[in-house]
Structure formats: structure tokens, C-alpha cells
């Protein structure tokens, strides 16, 4: 448990650095690649995993917290958990129209929390990292499971 805390704290520090700067213009990291390995004396494990932290522009997709396993340690990440609560904006045809419109008109759309945010074209938010890129980039190491 102590070691788990150490991992969490170190990761927390990494994220916190960004969060602390967020108000003053920090670029918003979305996906981090981290590597972990066991302490001496433990069964050998060296693993890399991706962590997804939602950017503020994750409009239209509810991001839910979950955990990624890295050498047996569960680390907080996020995964896509369904569409936005604004019903009209879930319609793919509406999203296509907004994609086209946003090319020449600065529009804001209501986020899942009802706040109006700059519209980001849909493809950017297809959450593929955890299921595909991870395994492709790290063959033979098994995927880190994502669960709640």
C-alpha cells in the first residue's frame, strides 16, 4: 500500500504541475505515457501504459474515471462513458453539420455540464488509445486493463 501511494503521489505531482499552471495558460495534456517497474525483490515487471486525462474540450463525451493497471498498481485514468446529456448534439448528422460550420464560424456548444465551450470537431475525441495504440506499441506486454 505504501508503494502504491508513492506511485500515485509521483503521478499526482506530474499532473499537478500542469493543473497548477492551468489558470495561466498551460497546454492541456490529454494522454500520458508512463512506465513502471517493480521494486527489487518483487517479480519482474516493466510496463508502459497510457493514461487519459480529459482535456477541457472533451465536449460531447462524458469522461468517467477509471483505473489503468501498471505492474499491478491501479492508476487513475479516464475513459469515454457515453454521450453528452444535450440530446440534439448526440446526433452524428448534427455533429457533421457543426464540424462543417465550425470551419468558418466561431461557435460554442453546450458541454455535458451545460457550459458553453469552443466546438472541437468530432474525430479528435475518438478514444482509441487504450484499446489499440497501447497494445500495438507495446507488443507482448499485455494491455493494461481499464476498469472502474
Amino acid at each position: 500500500m505504501k508503494v502504491f501511494r508513492a506511485v500515485s503521489l509521483m503521478l499526482g505531482a506530474s499532473m499537478l504541475a500542469c493543473l497548477l499552471h492551468a489558470q495561466s495558460g498551460c497546454s492541456q495534456a490529454n494522454t500520458y505515457y508512463i512506465t513502471c517497474q517493480n521494486q527489487p525483490g518483487q517479480p519482474t515487471c516493466q510496463q508502459g501504459v497510457y493514461l487519459t486525462i480529459p482535456s477541457s474540450s472533451a465536449y460531447g463525451i462524458n469522461m468517467a474515471p477509471g483505473y489503468v493497471s501498471c505492474c499491478g498498481t491501479n492508476i487513475l485514468s479516464y475513459y469515454a462513458a457515453g454521450g453528452c446529456q444535450i440530446a440534439e448534439l448526440r446526433n452524428p448528422k448534427v455533429r457533421e453539420m457543426l464540424d462543417e460550420l465550425a470551419m468558418t464560424l466561431p461557435i460554442r456548444v453546450a458541454s455535458c455540464k451545460g457550459r458553453y465551450v469552443a466546438y472541437t470537431p468530432t474525430p479528435q475525441w475518438t478514444p482509441q488509445i487504450q484499446s489499440t495504440s497501447f497494445r500495438n506499441l507495446l507488443p507482448g506486454q499485455g494491455g493494461a486493463g481499464v476498469g472502474r
Binding site: M1, V3, F4, A6, V7, S14, L19, H21, A22, Q23, S24, G25, C26, S27, Q28, A29, N30, T31, Y32, T35, C36, N38, Q39, Q42, P43, C45, I53, P54, S55, S56, A58, M63, A64, P65, C71, G72, T73, Y78, Q85, I86, V94, M97, L98, L101, T104, L105, P106, I107, R108, A110, C112, G114, R115, Y116, V117, A118, Y119, T120, Q124, I129
Partner: protein, 364 residues
């Protein structure tokens, strides 16, 4: 739980997201805005899609250009103030036909729409072929032009003026003298223009634009789809913001400059000190100050994430004299993420809910 280690290397995995960069704001005093959320405005159902910037008049009324998600041509301007709302629609323009709404600008007494339309009511059938096939559609026999349609503050239509030909007009502003500023793309010369037009439609001057405001002009064939798209994209970034008796002319995604156009048409250019790595996302309508909403490139938006503090946007008050940053605005309370405008020291923002209720948020 298995023990794991201390070796932990975090790197950014995708080039799309940049690195954290600190804005050197140490010398700039911070000023906190504590937002409070009002009750839902009665009778107002707000669209989940709005076109920025929001506008506010000196009497504290907020105006939003909303569009229907399923039909982006269906645009309605909604005015919200003192827990009441009213709507302005191009459908109220009775003496123009086939009206396409383009943009608008409000003052406390007048709301002006920039529209493209024809005076001719009669139509003829023409075959229109698209990628989806051919169809017969009614098309006006008349000439299509750009117009400024005027409404009073209660939404009653008061007539139009016709704008000069040769431009694809994009945005509009009203000077306190009654003259209009209109931005448009001059296709013949492949450049952006801002014209001053008198209240009866006569040309009254041209605002010379500095080079940063002219970047991005299309270089291809004038009438090619690519050129039309590029010119529309460029023009959509040149915006007007009211400030006292003047109108500020600026470009979204830029680091300035800002042009202040006075009631008489005089122009003052002010270079601004944008925070390092940040560009203008909005210049808030304000009655007694300049307020810049800045964003770092690559950061697409603001706070829709579950991590509430993950907000790359920043707000600064700007000295209108020299363009320096005078204070950094932080948010607390019912944090809106995006601030819309300022009126006599009160900052306004808004949000909605799943049932499209409209909530005004305010902070002093």
C-alpha cells in the same frame, strides 16, 4: 495489491498536446471573480449552440446569436436582461426575401442584422445539381445583395440599408455616431476590408488594416471553393467589440494589435502584451475596461472536463493606453469557464441544462 515501483516517467504521448508552460504573471496582480448563478430565466429555451462573441450593451443586456443544431441556417438572436428575454429573428424582415442571417450587433437602442437577401419576391424554378442529385428549386429572379436590417430594442423591424456591392460581408458594428462598420472580403483584390458606412448606406471611409489582420488571405483562384473557404475562414476571425463610445477591431487567434475606432471614425492602433504562448480567444464587450480572454494554441476549449481546474484559458484586464496586462482574473464560486462580458464592473456568463433552461452567472 502487488508492490510497484518508484520509477515513473511521464511523457506526453501525442504531439498534439504541447508542454506545460508557465505564464510569467508574477508581477500581474490577480483579481478574483466570485460567480453566482441566478435562477433560470422564465420562458427562455436556449439552444445548445451559440456563435461567439456574445454581445452586451451598456445597459447590461446580453445578446446571444443562437442556431438550431439541426438547421444551422435557423438563427435567432436572444436578448437577456433583468430576468426577461426577447428574441430577434430575420423572419421579421418583411420587405426582403430569401434572407440569410450573417451576424448582428446590438446597442441599447438598436439591433442591426447583417443579412444577404433579395428585394424580389417572385421566383423561378431552376434545376440545382448537387452530390445528392438534381432537384428543381425556386430561386428568386432578383439580385442578391448584403443589407443591414435594423430593429428597435423591443425587436420591431425598422427597415434596411443596402451595402456596397463587391464584398462578401462578414461582421457589423454600430458606432455611437450612427455610422456602421462592416468587415468584408474584397474578392477582386483578395483582401479583407473594413468599411465605414453612414446610417443611410453611403460609404463614409475605410479602416486601414495592419498586416497581422490580413494574414491568411487565399492565394488560389478567386472563385474556387478553396479560396471561398479560406476567405470565409479569415473573415470569421476579424471581430468587433463595443467599448464605451468606440468599437474595438481585433482578430481571434492573434496576439494583436487591437484597433480602437472612435465614433467619428478615427483609428488608434494598440499593441497588446499577450501572455507568453497565448493568443486572443475573445475580447469581452465592456463598458469601462478592456478584458482579453487568452488561450494557448492547441487548447481547443475550456472547462467541459470532469477535472474542473483543467482550464487552459486565462483572462486579463488590458490597459487601453499601452496594451499592457494590468490584472489577471481568476474565477471562483459557480465557475462558468467562459466569461461573456462586463458591464459597469459586473462580469456576466451563462450556462444551460439538459432542458435548455438559461442561467445567468454574474460576479463583481
Amino acid at each position: 495489491m502487488r508492490a510497484a515501483t518508484v520509477l515513473l516517467a511521464a511523457t506526453l504521448a501525442l504531439g498534439h498536446w504541447g508542454q506545460c508552460q508557465s505564464v510569467t504573471s508574477a508581477e500581474i496582480p490577480a483579481r478574483n471573480l466570485k460567480f453566482e448563478k441566478g435562477d433560470a430565466v422564465p420562458g427562455l429555451s436556449i439552444s445548445p449552440v451559440v456563435v461567439i462573441p456574445a454581445q452586451c450593451t451598456s445597459d447590461g443586456v446580453m445578446y446571444l446569436d443562437t442556431l438550431k443544431p439541426t438547421d444551422p441556417r435557423d438563427r435567432t438572436v436572444v436578448a437577456i436582461g433583468d430576468k426577461k428575454s426577447r428574441s430577434f429573428s430575420a423572419s421579421g424582415i418583411g420587405d426582403l426575401h430569401d434572407v440569410t442571417f450573417i451576424s448582428f450587433f446590438p446597442t441599447s437602442s438598436t439591433v442591426a442584422f447583417l443579412v444577404r437577401a433579395t428585394k424580389e419576391a417572385s421566383t423561378e424554378e431552376r434545376i440545382v445539381t448537387t452530390s445528392e442529385g438534381s432537384s428543381v428549386v425556386p430561386v428568386s429572379k432578383g439580385e442578391y445583395r448584403y443589407y443591414i436590417a435594423k430593429f428597435d430594442s423591443n425587436g420591431n423591424y425598422k427597415g434596411y440599408i443596402v451595402l456596397p456591392p463587391g464584398y462578401a460581408f462578414s461582421r457589423i458594428a454600430i458606432l455611437s455616431s450612427g455610422d456602421f462598420l462592416v468587415s468584408g472580403y474584397d474578392g477582386a483584390n483578395a483582401t479583407a476590408r473594413v468599411l465605414r458606412v453612414s446610417s443611410n448606406g453611403d460609404p463614409a471611409g475605410v479602416v486601414a488594416l495592419p498586416p497581422p489582420m490580413l494574414e491568411g488571405a487565399p492565394s488560389g483562384l478567386p472563385d474556387s471553393p478553396e479560396s471561398l473557404m479560406a476567405s470565409a475562414r479569415m473573415m470569421s476571425t476579424i471581430l468587433f467589440t463595443p467599448y464605451r463610445d468606440s468599437v474595438l477591431l481585433w482578430r481571434i487567434g492573434s496576439k494583436g494589435p487591437i484597433l480602437e475606432v472612435s465614433a467619428g471614425g478615427g483609428v488608434r492602433e494598440v499593441s497588446i502584451q499577450a501572455p507568453p504562448g497565448a493568443v486572443l480567444a475573445d475580447l469581452l464587450p465592456a463598458t469601462d475596461r478592456w478584458v482579453g480572454h487568452f488561450r494557448s494554441p492547441g487548447v481547443a476549449a475550456d472547462s467541459s472536463s470532469p477535472v474542473e481546474t483543467f482550464n487552459g484559458d486565462s483572462y486579463y484586464e488590458i490597459n487601453p493606453g499601452d496594451g499592457g496586462l494590468t490584472s489577471r482574473l481568476t474565477q471562483s464560486g459557480e465557475v462558468p469557464g467562459t466569461i461573456s462580458c462586463e458591464s459597469d464592473g459586473t462580469f456576466l456568463a451563462f450556462e444551460t441544462d439538459a432542458d435548455h433552461h438559461f442561467f445567468l452567472l454574474s460576479a463583481r
